[in-house]
Symmetry: C3
Subunit: 265 residues, 3 copies
Amino acid sequence: MNITPETIWEDVRAIREQAPLVHNITNYVVMNTTANALLALGASPVMAHARAEVEEMAGISSALVINIGTLSDPWISSMNLAAQKADSCNIPIIIDPVGAGATQYRTTTATTFIQAFFPEIIRGNGSEIMALCQDGVATKGVDSTSESSLALDSAKHLNRTTDSVVCITGETDYVVDKTGVIAIKNGHPMMPRVTGLGCTASALCGAFAAVNSRYATAVAHAMAVMGIAGEIAAETAKGPGSLQTGFIDALYCLTRDDIERYFRE
Amino acid sequence: MNITPETIWEDVRAIREQAPLVHNITNYVVMNTTANALLALGASPVMAHARAEVEEMAGISSALVINIGTLSDPWISSMNLAAQKADSCNIPIIIDPVGAGATQYRTTTATTFIQAFFPEIIRGNGSEIMALCQDGVATKGVDSTSESSLALDSAKHLNRTTDSVVCITGETDYVVDKTGVIAIKNGHPMMPRVTGLGCTASALCGAFAAVNSRYATAVAHAMAVMGIAGEIAAETAKGPGSLQTGFIDALYCLTRDDIERYFRE
Amino acid sequence: MNITPETIWEDVRAIREQAPLVHNITNYVVMNTTANALLALGASPVMAHARAEVEEMAGISSALVINIGTLSDPWISSMNLAAQKADSCNIPIIIDPVGAGATQYRTTTATTFIQAFFPEIIRGNGSEIMALCQDGVATKGVDSTSESSLALDSAKHLNRTTDSVVCITGETDYVVDKTGVIAIKNGHPMMPRVTGLGCTASALCGAFAAVNSRYATAVAHAMAVMGIAGEIAAETAKGPGSLQTGFIDALYCLTRDDIERYFRE
């Protein structure tokens, strides 16, 4: 498992050429910014959550992104229907367990979904990933040297039990599959001050997985592109408002040269 | 049916003076940007979807905009209640059939709504308009020379059977009523890379129809203003992020001189 | 009750240091921009509305912000559950009665909520505050000299009957508690042309109340910071689009010097 500016660029070009339809069942907070990020990258976003149409929508899509922020029971029901259809169509499922660990409802919903569908990709921050496998990692006890390494242990455990590619985002992003770990060091410290950039990262995983079935590589590419676009935007941003605007512009304008200049493993 | 910079400007001024209340039952993705576009233009947006209040809200509004993106059954029920009230109050109804043709649920919902309420205005892209009248246009067979002309045939058929003003947006926007077709050539190729600008176009139809009861003219004015604001924004935009910001600024700052300089039939 | 640049700055610094979790049950239109404003200021926003989790979420939060825009029955039920929990945990409740007076549904929902929970803070525009206590102020008859003074009478009446701190926002913002009235004169006339800045003001009240239990002072600080950030943004904004972006940037960058330079009572 290895990524280079060349492999990243190939996927970006494929997304721009194929404009894959990415079906999102996501939270209210980020719907607009997620759709704009997918459009700026070159993908085609669709948001649909009604039981009456999620199967049909998933059936014409190239990836399904499930995000449990602003969750409620009718949405869980639709997420399950859509995921069954995605499974039967062999399109990749990405889950973003927003807020797992914060409430039992979110932890249970995410865990149950993962056990039912073994999604191709799980992306969260360190505490969310840890919340998804407390049992497994609890056996490691309190000897783990840091929260970051504890999250990485959780990710490895989660990958072993589900075979999902697991991505932890933070100052360094980690992508874990059975062959190893890729670390990506792009990004900017102001990015967590923009709401929903984590959700956007999960949505971009959908776009990359739609054009590249080597999912660990696709996720690593998505994280590199997120971070690079954030760094480019940060160069002229005056705060998180202009960072959000510049991030969308940077996704749209991204060139092979940008990737070569900014990419850091 | 004829529009000029002068007639466009009259409606813009009327919106700024009257600040008509436009009631939107619209999708989650675009609520924020739609409200901002209406405010920037000078109208007063309100979003309300609860069965308990949609009739009262429609009853104090000057236009009702129905948008079927992120649809679900409770929302359909509220759309119907609001439309009944709008009909009884003689305020214009605008429907945006987002995603008609993509799922049966959306096609059926849009078609049923149109047959029930004969809305004053229908606005969609080419494939949505075609999805609304496949039977009618199917009789034309495969001889139509292009998708664009097929959409225009569909729009004319839809206008004949419903008496609605039908607007197809795309590189050229077409407004169809029984007296003929207006074509508006404003706009910028980056606009489709901003999510929800089509939905914004429908919302602006609501504002223009609220001050001008010659609905075909009102819709043509709305499309010209959309396109002109997009062109002005594109002059300094670095991508779809800054295009969205600049579009709102341009709506707010729009002058008679801008309209005279940019308007293209 | 007295506020100075020094007391405002102390609260801003406390928010940045403590990053209080602010639980919002708010409307679809403003969720993204509200979350971004809280993040830019230094607080931690969370949006959650499911009956299954609102109590747990309120239980780990430092303030609860209830906003009745885009209301529906399931959301009212969750607002009540969350407020019961907030009461039992002694965290402040802020209510924003969006659209009270526009429909009976909104007026009744806001009034019923206030009578049930006596929220620590009520923030609305003049007509919303008046709609909340028409009986009380009706006894004053038609002799009130202006709408503004009528709203202030309503706010005082509301404060007497509920003991809530009541905030009316407008060209001048008024904060009313039993010890008197604070008037804050910051802000810019373009701010009402950005959707949801009133809702953002209520959310910022949550952040300030989370770090300062003298609630009238906390609210006055929040209104001063809103207005100052708006004025800073307006200096370079070309319209409401760039004003929104610049407002978020200004919240993030706000210094003690800014507050000293711009604050106006």
